[in-house]
Amino acid sequence: MFCELHTRSAFSFLASGSQPQRMAGRAAELGMKAVALIDRDTVAGAVRFHFEAKEWGIKPIIGSEITMDDGSLLPLVPLNIGGYRNLSKLITTIKLRNKKGDHFATREDIEQHSDGLMCFTGGADGFLHRSIKNGCGQIDLAWLNFVFDKRLYVELQRHHLRHEENINQQLLGLAHKFRLPFFASNGAYYADQHDRELFDVFTCIKNHTNIYAAGKILSENSERHLKNAGQIHALFADLPEAVDITAEIADRVEFSMDELSYTFPDYPLTPGQSADSVLREKALARAHERYREAAWPIRSQVASRLEKEFRIIEMKKLAGYFLTVCDISDFCKDNKILSQGRGSAANSVVCYSLGITAVDPIQHDLLFERFLSEKYEQYPDIDIDLPSGDDREAVIQHVYKKYGRRSSGMTANVISYRGKSAVREVGKTFGFGTEVLDRLSKLNSHYEMFKGKELEKRLKEEGFDTAENFRLQKFSDLYQRILDFPRHLGQHSGGMVVSLNRLDGIVPIEPASMADRTIIQWDKDDCEALKIVKIDLLGLGMMAVLRDTITLIKEHHGVDLTLYKLPHDDDKVYDALQKGDTVGMFQVESRAQIAFLPKSKPANFYDIVVQVAIIRPGPIVGNMLHSYIKRRQGLEEVTYPHESLKPILKRTMGVPLFQEQLLKMAMDIAGFSGGEADELRRAMGFKRPDRKMEKIAQNLRDGMTKKGLPPDVQDQIVDYTKAFANYGFPESHAFSFALLAYASAYYIVHYRACFMAAMFNNYPLGFYNAATLVKDAQRHGLHFKPLDINKSDYDFKVVEENGAKKVRIGLRFVRGLREEIGKKIESERRQLTREFSDTQAGSLPSDKPYTSIADLIDRVPDINKREIRALSLAGALNFDNTVHRREALWESELAIQPEGQLFENAELRMENTEWKSTNSSFDIHHPSFLNRMEGLELVETDLRKTGISIGKHPMAFLREEMTRRGVLSAIDTQNLRRNEVVSVAGAVIIRQRPMTAKNVVFITIEDETGFANFVVMPDKFEEYRAVINQNDFLIIRGIFEERGMLKALHFTPVQDITSKVESHNFR
């Protein structure tokens, strides 16, 4: 029996040609009873390898090759849990000691962490090989033998290469000398022989070369694949004992990943307390406060709901987890950080009482079982939304500080080779030049990742002929094969893992790219598989916008209008929603939402909850969206599969939308417990039918039979359940988002200036680019004040002029201006004019603002010439319109001369120019050779330098010409008759091809009057692909189909406009 004890997977990054799962699968196919994965300085692939091997019924052995200080590798394999902890700590120690990518272990590190670890001498890049080459093999083997007493094995590898035999004979000699056991291995870098090609590609990527220039760094042959016992016996026919011992070594390994017992941190308790008692005490006290003003029917249910939840939390020993999340939530409140729990946690009264979530589950009849039940094997998931940026970072650092750097870390995110990165990397390997790479890369837009013959088709379209070109065929083949291979470990968007004991005893921790952040080597799926609790601290741009909006409203309107005090029955909000006038609003601003809102006409808060949940791929594919709209519009009768389902589905007009509804159905009509119902939801959600699903479906039928439901209805409900399980959305999650959606709508409708200022200060976020947001706000009557170095702050701000609230553009939008310089410009001015403000216009003293560009350079000396030029062109240096932008730029060219040249030229300048750039005065000569920027040129400069323009829309300058050519404006498309054919022109702000739309592309164009939406059928898109993708402004001829939508027939680029538009492109 042979067991391969030394394999590498793709998680060794650029050093293997196979995924860990494939390694495990192939080992099983070859009849091995155990296989070891020993990746380089990582166990990142261990979890998926472990579970795959178990699935195949073979023993997975986990280890890691440790990089030594001389660059060689020392393979270590844990024999027991203690050994694994040592290995994990060893990797953590070496990774955290130096900056990312510069890690290595010293002999001292190995000695300190050697307990419970078995050591192999490794292959050609192994520690002992290096020692033998350096002439100190005997000394180093003696050291290894001392450190790993009776746990050291000499490894022999044969790959049909002549030069290996020399070192193998030396290794054998040393093994005999030290009486050490030796074993045979193939040092597999890939599962199948075929994968050698991918391995060679990775070698090229690693060495920044291409396959033609790589020369001898490539493999000599394709023998580093997993081999069966027969092949290995043939290779080691002279040393059969080396093969036979592999099974014994595998048997020696007692450690299994299943043993890893992760424990959530204990909550600090005083004597006599338990976590359960503290949680109960806290929740009850806070529930009293939280429900103080609730109506009696709600208040009356609080105690019983809490008791029910306490019972399950106690049973599952989760009190510590709740208290920890509560602690984070409290930290946010104490530090005035807006936070809100999302996801299924909103179903919990305990979470609501503790202040973790904002939705009252009793009032909204939310089902606790969706969050937690007796049968629920996984830990519950509590996600907390935080304002993106500093606030979120403060919370993350709080967790690090509280639990320690070695007991907490961010979850990893495995970054894989996807469309563009795969094209680029494989293309480079095949020696394609930059131009070809760009062409190949552009072929692969955001919305499509080539599969199968698609790439060859695209290549042909672009003039490459794969049939004739072997290189392109190979490129195409390897492009397909590299997809989904891991590239590196990144950070998860917010998942943090904390542990009672040292987390690095469970999983290695390594530095993240961001300062002060560390990541664990497992991603969220690995954590879930090993039942490791993750707390998601998610950054949500809209939370930051709402936070800033609330502050601005308080400042400028004197109203303390916090998020959770907003009345949910505001007519203006529903009016805007019903019209689809929702640009800037959270979750309801997308093109699809805007198209759907005028049909669904939300009239109350729950309608918004539905709105948030229904524009999702699931309901669209499941045809639930259309059914709901028709019922909403009264075009279809509201029916139920069975009368008993009416109470459950009534809220969504008989259309099942929420996972909670599925659970309730199972509980009410089949008598399932909460846990069983949730199990049903999970089982039905699996793509592959299995025995478990069949069993649960049978239980459902049995339950329904008991309740007297006829078989035909049972069939209908089972089918319904299966279909529904795939697209159902958690109602609690929809509630949490609906709260934010409503708040954003409320603030926009009532406090647009404050909201828009906050929005721009947290840009980029949302669906639209900043230019579109400005134009939409302007159409709603909001006025923007231009950039002015003496009036603009770094941030956008609200100013009052003639009783109206306006938004002053902030310096943060000036492209190329560093944040610190922008803030310095503001602080330097404020330092002098602190007693004045923008709201006291006209009272600025002449000596406090910047008087000239020279004055600016004098007071902000770190500013560079690019920044001054950018400010000039953005219009920030017009000094009360005493100069125009080009004059400012011309003057800045003089002012930014290096000092030496200034002195050198001073005399000349004084003689030849009347310009005087002094601190005391700003007397400017207006050179006749500089023309003032006007009209479209000015708008284009604004867009180029700031991304926004408060002047006319570019299309407004062409309106006369467009009208003459019979091209309509966007607003005119709202009053068309069906089948009317018209042309509309505008800036393309959206190009979208939703996965649910069967290759149909949606395009939205914008002009000075608003938006026009087009649907582009696949044949038309193919016909006009280049015109659509390569032009920012288009004239589109289309046929009017229904309100707000034209079917595109023909596309023409708009000439004469060179503005760049940032479109929401195929995302």
Partner: protein, 420 residues
């Protein structure tokens, strides 16, 4: 009389260098070859042809006659003529006359991209825009060195033309009255031609290490030979022998109807001969010997072995044109012993007897014997991306003979080499 310069810029200068020089030489004696065209001094032509516009039109007509794409500029300074010609020279369109200097874009003035961007933002796009700005304003912003730009746009550039077109080769050709089947029949004629040619080279004060020999053949094709030596020589007999050997190695496929020989100039050999006794073979003799060997064994089977940094079946290739070069080192270095290995080219076909999956006996045309020891099998393969290859080899010790490398290719056995 004021100076006048003309410039032809063509995107296909590399392909039409000779024609462009020919055109220039019809108008001027002083010619400078540029990377993207040709510049020449046409001062004085006004008296022959007329106004500068007329001169330009003449040049344009001449260039058009040769169907070369590009543009022509004529101006009173070198810079202006070059700038004029460079506009729109990227297109493959027919010739056109560029005579609007003030309309020229600023991008060709050699400004930094940074300054160009600023000018673009200032709305300054053409030479005329810059001309409208007082020069002191420009100098105060962009320094004294901007004076050169100002001079250029004011057409006061002081750049000088550096004529660089000189003879670098001479040619001799001979059209035969009747086609000749055998090259050796032409030796006498060629001998005469070489004598004239090499004398002409000598007259220029140069020597020659590179000849182009072209035959026009009866089947309307051409046969070209490039004959190089690693040293310059005017030894006619030597060149003739070399040509003879080379043509014999790769004779023309049809009867010869004409021949053309071009001798390229090179500096004369600096080494002195005759003062001391020759301590090494004369290079001429070595080269002739090498070429004689090539004639005997074939061009592909003689040359300098060059180690390849590639995963290929044979780790070296033969460079037929290279001669052993490099520094000789006589110092003994204490290196590990390396087993020498001789490659058999071509490999020697063998018969191998296998018993119980063991190699036991081998027979070739030169040896036969029991296989005493075997190591392997050794496998190599690579170049899966273009020319896949693989080898399967054993090292065998043959009784009474030695140690050989045995290779199996498509079910046939070969001895590919021997260990020393």
């Amino acid at each position: 009389m004021s100076k006048l310069f003309a410039c032809i810029i063509s995107p296909r200068t590399a392909d039409h260098k000779g024609i462009l020089v020919d055109i220039a030489s019809r108008f001027a004696h002083s010619i400078e070859m540029l990377e993207d065209g040709v510049l020449f001094d046409v001062s004085g032509l006004e008296r022959l042809i007329g106004r500068p516009e007329k001169v330009a039109q003449k040049i344009v007509a001449e260039v058009r006659r040769h169907k070369i794409p590009g543009s022509v500029g004529v101006a009173t300074t070198v810079d202006s003529a070059t700038l004029l010609a460079r506009q729109e020279s990227e297109t493959e369109q027919a010739m056109h006359l560029a005579d609007k200097f003030e309309q020229l874009p600023l991008r060709d003035l050699g400004l930094t991209q940074d300054t160009l961007n600023v000018f673009e933002d200032l709305g300054l796009h053409r030479v005329e825009d810059l001309l409208a700005i007082p020069r002191s304003e420009l100098i105060s912003r962009y320094g004294r060195e901007f004076q050169n730009v100002i001079d250029t746009i004011e057409q006061k550039g002081t750049s000088l033309m550096t004529p660089n077109i000189k003879e670098d080769r001479v040619a001799w050709s001979f059209d035969l009255d009747q086609s000749v089947e055998n090259f050796e029949q032409l030796i006498f004629v060629l001998n005469h031609g070489l004598e004239r040619l090499l004398a002409e080279v000598n007259a220029y004060g140069f020597s020659c290490e590179y000849l182009d020999l072209d035959f026009k053949l009866k089947n309307k094709t051409e046969k070209a030979y490039e004959i190089r030596t690693s040293f310059p020589t005017l030894d006619r007999a030597f060149w003739l022998k070399l040509i003879n050997l080379r043509v014999a190695l790769d004779p023309p496929e049809a009867d010869i109807i004409s021949m053309n020989v071009v001798a390229h100039f090179t500096k004369s050999r600096p080494d002195q001969r005759g003062l001391y006794a020759v301590t090494r073979p004369e290079p001429e003799s070595l080269l002739l010997t090498v070429n004689k060997l090539k004639k005997l064994v074939g061009r592909d089977n003689l040359g300098v072995p060059v180690l390849l940094n590639q995963r290929v079946a044979e780790p070296f290739a033969l460079d037929a044109d290279a001669l052993p070069l490099g520094d000789e080192k006589g110092e003994a270095i204490g290196r590990k012993p390396i087993i020498a290995f001789s490659h058999f080219r071509p490999p020697i076909r063998a018969e191998v007897l296998i018993r119980d999956r063991q190699l036991v006996f081998v027979r070739t045309r030169d040896l036969s014997g029991h296989i005493l020891n075997v190591s392997g099998v050794w496998k190599s393969n690579s170049r899966w991306w273009d020319q896949p290859w693989k080898t399967t080899e054993w090292d065998i010790e043959v009784e009474n003979y030695g140690i050989y490398r045995l290779c199996k290719m498509r079910d046939e056995w070969f001895l590919v080499g021997e260990y020393d």
